[in-house]
Structures are given as C-alpha cells and as structure tokens.
C-alpha cells in the first residue's frame, strides 16, 4: 500500500504548479496596473501620454503634492535608517558582546511592533506626537520616530542573523588585545563584518517606509502613499504609475538584499 508521506518534498510538477499560481497572483495586478497606465480613457485605445505627462512642465504644479510626498518619504527613509544605525545597531552590538543575557529581552522588545496593527499603534502615538510637535515641530521627518518602531522587527532580524554568524565577542577581544579602543573595534573590525546585516536592515527599512500609509495618513502627514491616494482621486493614471515605480524601487532593494546575502566575501581594508 502506498501513501503520501507527511512532510515529504512535493514533486517537481507540484512545485511548478505552486510557483505558477503564486506568480499569477502577483503578476496579474502588476500587469493590470501597467496596462492601465497605457489606457486612453474609457476607450480601447493605448497611449503613452500618461507617462510622458510626468515630464511635462505643466504637470509640475499638478503633481506638486506628489513630489512633496516623494521628497518626504525619501527624508523619512534616511531618518529611519539613521535611527536604526545610530540606536538599534549599537544597542544590539553592546548586548551581544557585553550583556548576552539581555538578548531575549531585546528580541522580545524588537518583535513587539510586528504584533501591533498600525492603526492601534497610531492611537497610542497620537498623544505622543502632541508632545513631539511641541518639541520638534510638526515636520514630516518626525514620523521617523514612529517608523523607527515600525521597522524594528525587520531591522532586528537582519542584523541579528549577521551577529549570530560572526563571533563578535572574540573578534572584539582580539582587536582590543591588539591595542584597539572601542571605536576602532567598531569601525575597523565589527562594522565591516556586519556589513551584510546593516545593508539588509537599511534596505528593508527603506522598503517599509516607502510603503507606509496608515500612520502618515492618521497623523495628517504627507508621504508617498498618502500623496498617491490624493493624486489618484484626480489622476488615477499617475497614481498607478508612481505606485509601479515605488514597487520597482522596493523590488530592486529586495533584490539587492538577496544579492548581498549570496555575495562572495569581499575585502574591506582598514
């Protein structure tokens, strides 16, 4: 009597079917979006006017809010990455090297945001942002504080997997025994060996920030996603074009992360 083993690897045919189905699920909306951007109104005709219009001087005023949103999102991406690199990364290194017993606590804290829906997060953040507005003003970049929390789980995992793969404790001790101070240990030894994790955390943070809508919308800030929504109400073609471009950018970032993970060891001489 033959039976199907539980946990057995699916056959090549089944794998292809699953892969095909997933590809269709992802491809259909993307292809639809691309096709949509070439549609000429409600007729059957095709046009490149919607794409060409982006570069028209006349449209600069029309899409001003969208460009503001893009600019804000870029600033937010940089600010969020800065928070990750300045706060999260050093904290994780210190915990790994000096307080290994706190690793579980840090992991728990960093994973929490992924369990809290953005809408719930905003409810808690609203009064906090009242204070932030009084201290730092209501500039859009202040959203980076909230985004710093939102990207924590992703940034943590990317950096921690790299930390686990490198014996930072021994490398740190070896470099200190050779006369390096803590800054030199970090700069010449640890950061080059954590390069992959740092870049992965940064790219994932950028991807998350570029796709964030809920927090910005509910806190009345303009970013790429809120601007896209606004533009879509007057010009759905341009909104879809920018959504596609944002998708392509994020796809490129994730591709870069994948390449980093499989890249051969490269030299980084102090």
């Amino acid at each position: 009597m033959s039976g199907v083993r539980i946990g057995a690897e699916p056959s090549a045919v089944v794998r292809r079917v699953i892969l095909g189905a997933v590809a269709v699920v992802f491809a259909v909306p993307i292809i639809s979006m691309i096709v949509f951007t070439f549609r000429d109104g409600l007729g059957d005709g095709q046009t490149v006017d919607h794409w060409a219009g982006l570069f028209s001087p006349d449209s600069a005023r029309t899409y001003r809010n969208l460009f503001t949103g893009i600019g804000n999102s870029v600033i937010l991406a940089f600010a969020t990455v800065a928070i990750v690199l300045v706060l999260v990364l050093p904290t994780m290194i210190v915990v790994q090297m000096q307080f290994p017993r706190l690793k579980r606590v840090l992991e728990f804290i960093c994973i929490i945001p992924i369990t809290v829906p953005a809408i719930v997060l905003v409810v808690g953040l609203a009064p906090v942002y009242g204070v932030i507005a009084r201290v730092f003003g209501s500039s859009t970049w202040t959203l980076a504080f909230a985004y710093g929390i939102t990207v924590l789980p992703y940034a943590y995992r990317a950096i921690q997997s790299n930390l686990d793969a490198v014996d930072v404790v021994t490398l740190g001790e070896a470099s200190r025994s050779l006369g390096a101070n803590w800054f030199s240990v970090l700069w010449w030894v640890l950061l080059p060996n954590l390069r992959r994790g740092i870049l992965a955390a940064s790219f994932i943070s950028v991807a998350v920030v570029l796709g964030e809508f809920t927090i910005a919308s509910l806190l009345n800030r303009v970013n790429l996603q809120t601007a896209l929504l606004q533009v879509s109400q007057s010009d759905p073609y341009v909104a879809v074009i920018f959504a596609l471009l944002a998708l392509a950018l994020v796809f490129g970032l994730l591709l870069a992360i994948g390449r980093l993970g499989s890249a051969p060891h490269r030299r980084s001489t102090p």
Partner: protein
C-alpha cells in the same frame, strides 16, 4: 627550571618596535597576587598567587571550570578582578584597560578578522599603534615569515587551514613585541599532528623572542611538553606549581597525582606511614597520613613484568587488555581480588589476553588519598 631568554639577532624576528615604554623587551615579570574573581556567586579565582619570571613559559593546567582561563583573562584585562593585584614589571595593571596593557593574545577559536588578509591581520596591531605604513608592512611580513607563512599573506582566513590560522594569530600577537604573550588553549581546535607541530613551534619562537608567556591548556601532555613550569589549578586556586618533572615525579597532592600523568587508582592501606598495595609496602609521597584505607595512585611505569624468580616477591595477575602506544605498550592486568592495574612496558613484550603474568613495583613513592 627557567630558560633564560636569549638576546636574539635572528633576522626572522620582527624588529623591536618603539611604542612608549617598550624600548627593550626581553620579557616582563608578571605577578598575580591574591587575585579574586566572582561570577554571580561562583568564585572563579579564589585568591590566586602566581609569579612568572621574565621570559618564562608557564602553563596553566587544570580541568574545565578550574579557573585557568579566567586567570589568563584577568591578566589580559578582558576580565576585571574583584580583589588582589596584577603586576607587570612591578606596575599594577589591574585597572589598565586591555588595549593599553601591551599584551599579545592568541585565542582558542580562530580569531582572525575575516574581512582582512593574513598580512592585514598581522598589521592590525601596528596600525593601532600608528606605525608608519612601510615599517608596518615590513614587520608584518617578518612576523609571517617567523611562523612560516610568508607566502600566504594575501590569503583570507577562510582560505587558510586551522593550523595556518593559528600561526597567523600568533604572528599577529607577536608582531607588536608585547610584554607578555597569553595563549588561551590555542591548539585545542587543531588535529593531533598539527597540535604537536605548532606547540613545538610556539616553544621555539617563545625561546627565540624571550617573551614571558602564559599558556592555558587542559591537555597535560601539551603543558608538560612546552612549559618551563606548570601550574595545576583546581577550584580557582593553584594546587601545585613546578617544573614538569617535579609535577610528574613528586605531585604535592592526590589531585595533582591523579590529574598529571596516567595513574591507576587502587585500594590500599596506610600502615606505619607506608602504602600497602597488594601486600607490598611502598613509600608514601607527600605528607604523612594516619593508618587506614586509602586510594593509591600507581603510575603504569612504576609497575613492571618480571620473570619467575625465587629470590624476589612477585605479584600474580591476568592480562585483561593490551594497547599499542607507538614506542611503548600499555597492558591492563587484573589481580585475584579483581583490582585492575596498568603496566607500561616495551613494545616487544606482548602478553596475550588471559595470560598469567608476574609483576613487581618499582618501589617509587606513590600518592594516596583517604578513602571515604
């Protein structure tokens, strides 16, 4: 026995460098005085005292958890101490951070920086001391040549074998001409052949440079083979320190007798200050003990096969097993009362399993501890 560090003129030795306070370096005197280290209730170092003469090679030997690595790390500055003093050349360095202690260290795990070549690894310590680039490169190449890896400088750690990585780590630790060299079980991750080669190389280089060296190991053969003196540690204290010969021939305590060398533990009795083993009286090593049952530690080389001879007493036993050890053979025998004992003898003698043999003790003093 202390080997006097020679003044070297060897061209393969990195030139003495010019970091402040280190104009000449035949090796520093090191003292650990009543050093105490606690880990959340557990006392890892319990008032340890150790004096190392300039240029001396000391091995810290002991079982896992005895505090030997903690002692080494305390000396390096990687661990702070809770009490006591650590002196290097009469200067108390207990509060000096590790990067200012001017020590060289080789770790158990391969600790080469993976993103640098072997040459860049060796240059690292000099770079931290702001040695000019040309001198740095020259000295790093000399150091690599010293460990026999002059041709491998361009390779990364993952392109080197374990033994080669540890050689690079040794060159990296020595290139700055530190006052003290600390070796934290540097051979334990290597295979047997490479271990022997590298330990001999370490000893040769240490003798050439005359650098004061502290070597931590749990391998007694390694410790006895390379060190001027061996300190046997137990429960955060030094149980005995002495030359390898002293430790082996005259262990101060049953623990040392048991830990250093190979011993067979057999039931015995103290009678009038002598140890009675299988009815034979043997001199007791160490302090006198009251009469009563003890466990005696008999070295395999202190027992030998004899042929039947009416003029001298012989013990009778049966062969249980026999192991070929290369230059010698070790045979386990069982006495009539079931006591097992090992006998070390020439390879040419090969008694068969179950064969009846006659034995005699060499008559050397044996260690014994009261039997509970």
């Amino acid at each position: 026995m202390t080997r006097t560090p020679p003044v070297t003129g060897d061209s393969t030795v990195p030139a003495t460098h010019d970091t402040p306070g280190n104009k000449s370096r035949p090796g520093a005197a090191v003292e650990l005085i009543n050093v105490v280290k606690d880990y959340s209730g557990h006392r890892a170092l319990n008032g340890i005292n150790l004096t190392i003469a300039p240029g001396e090679f000391i091995a810290l030997l002991g079982p896992s958890g005895c505090g030997k690595t903690t002692a080494l790390r305390a000396l390096s500055g990687l661990e702070t101490i809770d009490a006591g003093n650590i002196r290097i050349d009469d200067t108390d360095v207990a509060s000096v951070p590790v990067n200012r202690r001017d020590i060289g260290m080789v770790f158990q795990s391969y600790s080469l920086f993976p993103h640098m070549t072997a040459l860049e690894n060796v240059e690292f310590g000099l770079r931290m001391r702001r040695v000019p680039a040309a001198e740095r490169r020259s000295r790093a190449l000399d150091a690599l040549a010293m460990v026999g890896l002059a041709e491998k400088g361009h390779r990364f750690a993952h392109q080197l074998s374990g033994g080669q990585q540890q050689r690079v780590a040794l060159a990296r630790a020595l290139v700055t001409r530190p006052r003290v060299l600390l070796l934290d079980e540097p051979l334990s991750a290597l295979d047997a052949t490479v271990r022997v080669q590298l330990r001999e190389e370490i000893r040769r280089i240490q003798t050439d440079l005359g650098i004061t060296t502290l070597f931590v190991t749990h391998d007694q053969e390694e410790a006895l083979a390379v060190a001027d003196r061996v300190a046997v540690m137990r429960d955060g204290q030094i149980e005995q320190i002495g030359s390898p010969e002293e430790l082996y021939m005259t262990p101060a305590t049953p623990f040392v007798a048991d830990f250093v060398g190979v011993s067979t533990q057999v039931s015995a009795t103290i009678v009038d200050g002598q140890v009675m083993v299988q009815g034979v009286a043997l001199p007791l090593l160490g302090d006198p003990q009251p009469d009563g049952p003890v466990t005696a530690f008999i070295r395999p080389e202190d027992v030998r096969f004899i042929t039947a001879d009416a003029t001298r007493p012989a013990l009778s036993a049966h062969v249980v097993s026999s192991s070929f050890l290369g230059s010698q053979r070790r045979t386990q025998v069982r006495f009539e009362d079931g006591t097992l004992m090992s006998v070390q003898h020439e390879v040419g003698v090969h008694p068969g399993v179950g064969e009846r043999v006659l034995l005699a003790f060499a008559g050397r003093p044996v260690s014994a501890k009261p039997r509970s």
